[in-house]
């Protein structure tokens, strides 16, 4: 009897406690959503109400008419998709090599990869900028797609994943005369789809949310990414909280969709390394 009570009570506290915490974590988004529907006059009027007294889509239309968030969105999408695709390709190839073959460079490469993985970005930013200028890629989307698509985390992640694939399948394919590239392309890649999905989400969000590097290499407004567009709203002469919130909500959209539909892969992409290490 006592035990049963003891179990019910904490379980109630646990569930309600976690619900309260989750709601707290969501309050900022709720406020952002509410503010995004407020007309400018209401945002700067006291007292401030939680629910918009007058629901307006003005902010959502303003960010496309007064500013060019459709361009920023497109640029960010191109960059994120390109970065993800390239990153997956390099990491799936490299990860495959590291998981299936023994090479002499393997040992030193691992050391390098682990060293680089957590290295604060600022350590390479000045020469990287110089390099981009020299190659003539400054102010181009390529500058934010290609250079860092060789992700150290990604290659280690794919290596880990591909090591868990059954080797017998590949060996029998080799005996049947399949070439190495074919084995990778038609066997290993399809078998690695869950891993690729997880890494893909990780890379996509990495690029979608990136701020510092695009801030440095992109200048003209037809090339800016979405976070840079939001940065412009902050510095404006008239502070436009409503537009800032509307822009934030739209930026969150792809992220939320990914999270809702691919939560498992998302989590796997972020934490795999931690558990395995």
């Amino acid at each position: 009897m006592r035990r049963a009570v003891g179990r019910v009570l904490p379980s109630l506290t646990l569930n309600s406690g976690m619900t309260i915490l989750a709601l707290l974590a969501l309050v900022p988004f709720g406020v952002a959503l509410s503010w995004s529907f407020k007309p400018l006059a209401e945002i700067f009027r006291l007292p401030v109400s939680l629910i918009p007294q007058e629901v307006s889509l003005q902010n959502y239309s303003d960010i496309f008419t007064q500013h060019h968030f459709e361009v920023f969105f497109r640029n960010s999408m191109i960059a994120a998709v390109g970065y993800t695709a390239l990153g997956l390709l390099w990491c799936a190839m490299g990860g495959w090599a590291l998981s299936q073959y023994k090479t002499r460079i393997q040992g030193p490469l691992f050391v390098l990869l682990f060293l680089v993985i957590g290295l604060p970005f600022q350590v390479l930013i000045v020469p990287a900028f110089g390099l981009i200028v020299q190659i003539g890629l400054a102010n181009s989307l390529i500058a934010i797609i290609v250079p860092f698509s060789a992700s150290a985390y990604g290659i280690l992640f794919m290596r880990q994943y591909m090591r868990s694939l059954p080797v017998e399948v590949f060996e029998s394919a080799r005996i049947d005369g399949a070439g190495e590239f074919r084995i990778w392309w038609s066997l290993a890649l399809p078998m690695s789809l869950p891993g690729l999905a997880a890494l893909g989400i990780f890379l996509f969000l990495d690029s979608w949310n990136d701020f510092l590097w695009p801030l440095i290499v992109l200048t003209t407004s037809d090339n800016l990414t979405y976070p840079l567009g939001m940065n412009l709203l902050v510095g404006l002469f008239h502070v436009e909280y409503g537009q800032m919130m509307a822009a934030s909500m739209l930026a969150l959209l792809p992220v939320a969709i990914i999270l809702i539909f691919m939560q498992r892969q998302f989590i796997a992409g972020i934490t795999a390394g931690a558990v395995k290490r």
């Binding site: 102010n139 412009l232 510095g235 002469f237």
Partner: protein, 394 residues
Amino acid sequence: MWVTADGTSKAGFEKYFSEYQKLHPNISLTVEEFPFTDLHDKLSVALLAGTGAPDLALPEISRFSLLLKGSTVGLVDLTDRIAAANMNLVSSLQNNYTYQGHVYGVQTDLNPVQLYYRSDIFKQAGIQTPIATWADYIKAGQLLKSKTGKSMIAIETTDYDVWTPIMLQYGCNFFDTTGQVALGSDQCHKAFRLLVSLVQDKIAIPAPGGDQYNPTFWGAYGKGDVASIWGASWMLSILEGFVPDLKGKWTAQPLPTAPPDATIDTSTVGGNALVITNQSKNVDVAWDFIRWIVLEKPLPDQVYAVPNNTARWTDPVFQKPNDYLGGQVIGQLWLNQANELLQPGTPYLNPDPNNTTAYDVFTRTALAPAINGDKTADQALDEAVAELKSTVGQ
């Protein structure tokens, strides 16, 4: 073309260009606006990178020096074109854009500084106007405080538009003409002490919200808690925009002086220059637009500055009474002051590639701590001088 997102520049230049386009129908111009700091940050990086810059840009004087960084200047040298076009430019103004003998920009306007005050509040407190000297201004402030509890001015801590006019009026400069840090000079100490003393004497408050570009700042003015502000001619457009309800209650007068240190009853702050980047493929077209702006652009019905072309100062628009200032003929005051600014020896910001850095260092290390009362004026200024010297390697 890149301009600052100040609420007027983009619309202004689009309008000018549509006029210009009537004469030259086969060219087009896209005006893009960026927030103040982003404009200059992006432009300087784009010039350094050699790509990603627009044809034309309108940088602001205090951050113009950013564009001179790098081993070569990324702007088109306009020296010969200016000389050939016979523009009647104000030469002391043009000095700001002259680096190593080459002129890289054409400032659009002169910005003489006035003191704007709430005539209704001053009258209520029994303050005699016009106020002639800074000592009188302080006395007036004490009178105002004791009679009404109001403050004379809100002094910015995160921007420098209140500081610059005083600095230049006192002949203080960040760097001397040889590029040595001059911020530690007597004039600078005197100017800065004056500014800080206003807060110490409780006749000024640190700016709510930090600077004039924050709505909170104008909230204090809108409520009538603060009764005056000095600023360049464009201050009038800011007042009209931020506190429209105070129409008819403001009056402008020349800037108070402090003989023998600050004798001229005006100063200057701000100003934007048209520049052409060397990434432009249409330098001649861009230059012709600049030439047209300076020489032929029709003046609007209400001006907020004096054009950088002395030949246009006779325009009747300057004789128009201004409703916001209760019918005052503000244009004539501006012209009088502009003429003073033409005199040789009038202080201007010495051009130096580190002026922008100096502004940033001064604002964070001297202005903010001293105005907020964390440090004395001299102490804060000395620290800023030390930081500036080490930053520019002196």
